[in-house]
Subunit: 127 residues, 4 copies
Amino acid sequence: MMSRTFNNTQPIYLQMIRRICRQVVRGELKAGDKLPSVREMAVQNGVNPNTVQRVYTELERLAIAETRRGLGSFITEDEERLKQLREDLKNEQIDTFIKDMSETGFSAEEIVEGVRQKLLITKAGRV
Amino acid sequence: MMSRTFNNTQPIYLQMIRRICRQVVRGELKAGDKLPSVREMAVQNGVNPNTVQRVYTELERLAIAETRRGLGSFITEDEERLKQLREDLKNEQIDTFIKDMSETGFSAEEIVEGVRQKLLITKAGRV
Amino acid sequence: MMSRTFNNTQPIYLQMIRRICRQVVRGELKAGDKLPSVREMAVQNGVNPNTVQRVYTELERLAIAETRRGLGSFITEDEERLKQLREDLKNEQIDTFIKDMSETGFSAEEIVEGVRQKLLITKAGRV
Amino acid sequence: MMSRTFNNTQPIYLQMIRRICRQVVRGELKAGDKLPSVREMAVQNGVNPNTVQRVYTELERLAIAETRRGLGSFITEDEERLKQLREDLKNEQIDTFIKDMSETGFSAEEIVEGVRQKLLITKAGRV
DNA sequence: GTGGTCTAGACCACC
DNA sequence: GTGGTCTAGACCACG
């Protein structure tokens, strides 16, 4: 009755927004691509249409998608905006991470080294 | 009426837990140290005693503090647990970060390099 | 003013947790069943909503129930977990009992025999 | 600074009472034996003298110990009472156990069998 | 309507 | 005085 694709720690609509942003950054969604209709997206995700509506509205506010009355929602054709989104997400995530680590008391060396080692392992291993 | 030490994006009790954990990791709170009484901590932070109560209960569940009825709450004397806490926080934060970055489509190189550069800048600059 | 379903020797929230666990073990609550809403459960038991909230939170931590924001709380659909709960409760109760009896100085024979006889009587008698 | 002989789930004074009762039942404390003075017992256990006082008072109320002004506290010389104590504890513990198990939905067979098996194991094993 | 959080204030057992 | 629990009632984000 309800998809377990989402966790409870964060609002579903935020998780959906993030997922779409990532699909854009990874190129799975391209400029001008049509997004599923609100209803379709809702049933696909086992989610309330209100929730999807909120997602699309928010994406519009972020200038990532635009809604054309009677036609549906589309990824913006402003490629510049999409490149910018990539950088925004990158900076945002890195800044948050560094701030968290610093406040917890880890040194710059520990941070860089920790990240480097984790990536070596995961690369050597599975992902 | 209420100290603005906290932001609205996350429950106060979680912010307090995190703050105490960080104080422990940074050595500002040591094994065996007494935490302020529930009421004291409450007034210090302009927060309701129930909120502090919840914080202390949770810290006890995490085996970071223990509570002695009628005496107060204390940082655990299990130094091993405190060392472990440091590693736990480190791993947790790094893992989350890497997972987020990977899912957003950034390569290992981009991740390490991004972190390294940000740290050079902040070191050269303010922090 | 307050239903006397509960006794004073143990916190109400613990008594409610235990009651729900037992309903699950006895099959009165099945995987996926919806629990009453926080408010509903509160009035049903003549108890404050906060108390019920705590119960549901704890049940979630025990992986016995899960909560879907805006939808309600449900018994987990992980049937395996529910079977495990039965065994957990069984072992826990037996272990505690045996530990108590041993520490009080009763021999294994006395324990088994004592239990056996009590059960014969109660079976012959009322229960 | 404080002995960790006690847990937080139950009042210390009740834990001390139970411990003394058990020592009596197991014969480690015999009729007429002198109990340590309040002060002595307090320091031995890293506990507040008030707490010990409460223990002795309660033991007196249970007719297990008696206090002689200026002399100290002693286990009662009423051997009959001590035998009775043994039976009381036995019955009490068994009844509580059976009631718990029944309410959780376990059958008489399951209860007896569960206890029997656990005892075989622990006997074969360490204890 | 649903759960999540928080405040205000109370009472209790315990040390 | 200290923690533990509970009530009463409120507000918010979410679905």
